[in-house]
């Protein structure tokens, strides 16, 4: 009985979301096949981004709100790939390499900053994201087309300087990963390549934590002081964790955007930080503990709600916006809840 209670408490969030999802599905009366095909697609699209959050959590850095830096790098790379008209898989590869290179630098800078803000990593990384967003806007609103040459005029604002609100990937790298290998089961389409990449990352994370570096990350995550006394270079390990997370976020953003097909120039990266973190938390992760299964379960649950919330809202209140609102509200609520739990656990109770 006690055991059952413990399990219920520690899995409270995923359980609550499962119930919510099931009832929303029932209310929305969405055909199961449609739901299944949507979820499979979103698994291949979003899981990589969510997985990029795991390493910093295990390294004791908490939720890396700084993955928006990686996302920005991913987008920046895609803009140029589109401009240079590099198509298909090659385009994706070039985008990933460029994004990876940019995000190594960004991750390194973020890591250095976070090392100066030990114990306040989450808020620091969040503000870092906002700050980087300012620079990102500066570059893509004022420098592109003026300082930075950009040939594809249709993506530029009428004055010829600055990117438009949306940049189209159709005709270049849209679905470039999805198309080469697709399996159809009824109406459900399986995009094998992105799923394989996700599986590859899962394998990498699993293997990483069987290596010396992974063990160091775990040790630092558990207790920085003890790790340092044991001779581990704590700062270096933390920087590595953040760099890996940022690079994965960049690649994740490329995978995400090739599936979506258009880049929402000034918003895509912002949303991705919020929704990835919410999804991971919904899957049962906390600010100190996260597994691959948390990420996968989180994507399934969170995106089920995403798919069905508008129809459920429509059925219940006659307005799809209510459902929209509801899911946004839930994303923030689940993050707020996780952060509150984090603070509550950090402050040891005296009795």
């Amino acid at each position: 009985m006690e055991k059952l209670k413990k399990i219920l408490i520690s899995y409270a969030v995923p359980i609550a979301f499962s119930i919510l999802c099931v009832s929303a599905v029932l209310v929305a009366q969405i055909p199961p096949i449609f739901l299944a095909s949507e979820i499979v697609r979103r698994l291949s699209r979003n899981t990589f981004l969510v997985l990029s959050l795991i390493i910093p959590i295990i390294g004791g850095l908490g939720l890396n709100f700084g993955i928006v830096l990686g996302a920005m790098a991913g987008q920046a790379a895609l803009f140029f790939v589109v401009d240079w008209k590099i198509k298909g898989l090659v385009g994706i590869l070039v985008a990933c390499l460029m994004a990876g290179a940019i995000s190594v630098v960004l991750g390194w800078l973020a890591g250095l900053t976070l090392n100066r803000a030990k114990g306040r990593e989450m808020i620091t990384s969040m503000i870092l994201g906002f700050f980087a967003n300012g620079i990102y806007q500066l570059i893509f609103l004022f420098f592109v087309g003026s300082l930075i040459p950009f040939r594809t005029k249709q993506f530029l604002l009428p004055e010829g300087v600055g990117l438009r609100n949306t940049v189209d990937l159709y005709g270049t790298v849209a679905s470039a990963l999805n198309n080469p290998w697709m399996i159809r089961i009824g109406t459900v389409r399986l995009f094998v390549l992105p799923l394989l990449i996700v599986a590859g990352l899962c394998l990498f994370i699993t293997l990483l934590f069987k290596t010396k570096l992974g063990q160091d990350i775990r040790a630092v995550g558990q207790d920085m002081h003890i790790a340092e006394v044991a001779g581990i270079n704590v700062n270096k390990v933390r920087v590595i964790a953040i760099i890996m997370s940022t690079v994965f976020a960049a690649i994740g953003q490329v995978i995400y955007l090739q599936d979506i097909g258009t880049i929402n120039t000034y918003n895509s990266h912002e949303q991705i930080g919020l929704f990835s973190i919410a999804a991971l938390l919904v899957g049962g992760a906390t600010t100190r503990k996260a597994t691959i299964w948390n990420a996968i379960l989180g994507v399934v649950l969170f995106h089920t709600l995403f798919v069905v919330a508008p129809s459920a809202g429509n059925r219940l209140f006659g307005q799809p916006q209510v459902g929209e609102f509801f899911r946004e509200f839930l994303a923030y609520a689940v993050i707020a809840f996780a952060l509150a739990m984090h603070g509550w656990r950090a402050k040891k109770i005296l009795m």
């Binding site: 290596t211 040790a219 558990q222």
Partner: protein
Amino acid sequence: MQYALEMRNISKSFYGNQVLKNVNIAVAAGEVLGLVGENGAGKTTLMNILFGMPVIHSTGGFEGEILINNEHVNIDSPRRAMEYGIGMVHQEFMLIPGFTVTENIKLNREITKDNLLSKVFGKSLRTLDFPAMRKEARQAISTIGMSIEELAVVAGLPVAHKQFIEIAREIDKKNLKILVLDEPTAVLSEAEAEKLLDTIRYFAKRGVAIIFISHRLSEVLKVSDRITILRDGVVVDSKPSSSFTVSEIAEKMVGRKLENVVLPPRAKEPSDEDIIMSIRNLKVYMPGEMVKDFSIDIRRGEILGIGGLAGHGKLGVANGIAGMFPAEGQVYFEGEPYRLNDPSYALRNGIVYLSEDRRGVGLLLDESVEMNIAATAIEAFGSFTRRFLFMTVYDRKKIREHALEMIKKLDIRCKSPTQTVRRLSGGNQQKVCLARAFTLNPKILFVSEPTRGIDVGAKKLVLDYLVSMNREHGITIVMTSSELAELRSICDRIAIVAEGKLSAVLPPKASDAEFGLAMAGEFQEVLQHG
């Protein structure tokens, strides 16, 4: 003479407060140097300097020089210290709670093997070789003659085991040349401490230079070749141990003579007629300190001691009553049934518990002295608060007044009531705990290991304060301790726990042999001495 380690003219200040003045120590290979001194005398700081701990370098470094094998060295980080073959068993455990015993022993010295990735990206991606790590950990543990499951997670283990894991980790270091043991026996029972001393001798035989810090002077005398005494940051004496006696060392450490405690009389002696708490068939599930079947009547106004060997469950009793670990059994408090497994119920009924783990459970290390004294009272009874408009707020003034009074009464050595508790020495932290307990106005005070890791001077103050709480305020005290001598100095009766059961209740004047038999669980019948 060729010394393995020499520290010359070491001086160090913290925030303008000089804690070490021109300290010189030296130790040769295969030699055991006993380093003794009161808490706050600077022993731990000296060792932190040797180990290049971050706390030294973040507070402005130190003056003086360190020589290893007659060569100047610059030790600026624990990593560098380890490269020079310096190992350290810290006063606070340096074990990662969520890791297994093996992972802790092998921390940052993991055995690895190549894989595909590591060939491309370098050594840090080599795979851990768990079977090999496990084997070596096993070997290190058995060298000290312990049987600890090497795959167990450290968090749930009893403190004595943690201590031995720390030592096993040092044994496992193949390049170990200098080993520092900072208070390794503080958490051990006498039999375990003996085992540890054997381990020290084993290290010395291996040619390791050893610095042994302990408050148990007889142990220091037994195992050391030479003894250096520190007082207030200065070396007051350094001679071969054969030229010292325990009382001489104690005298030099404290700088004043120690005397036998004479306990003040009571207005009314406790008696079997007036039982404040009656415990029947108590079982407590505390890992490493299981209580299997414990029954006793606690008399109102007495000081009851609970003793026994480590791991036999003496610590479990107080933890169970206070609701820190799951417990079952029949307990009656002032004649009424008492609810177990409910810490706040215990607190509300005037049952206060001071944990043996004062840094972990007892204190809010990053809060101020005054908040530590007042926090539990605020939490449990809403004392020190006042109404402000529609809110309840802290009454800062009252907290400050009360804290100042307690600081004076207990001689808590802090710079101000707002200093954080983390920066206090162990003895002063314990005094803060006592002040907090007293603030709660307890009917029964359960206190576990109140003098663990505390120097002789502070020890006496703590014990005196317990006695005065008992005599002046009539608080019933149940004191659990692994130091028989201190139980015998202030308790009215001493209950000995063996294998989770009450083995005997003895008067403090009972002979050593009787206590020995009781601890071994061979005291045939439970004698109810008066």
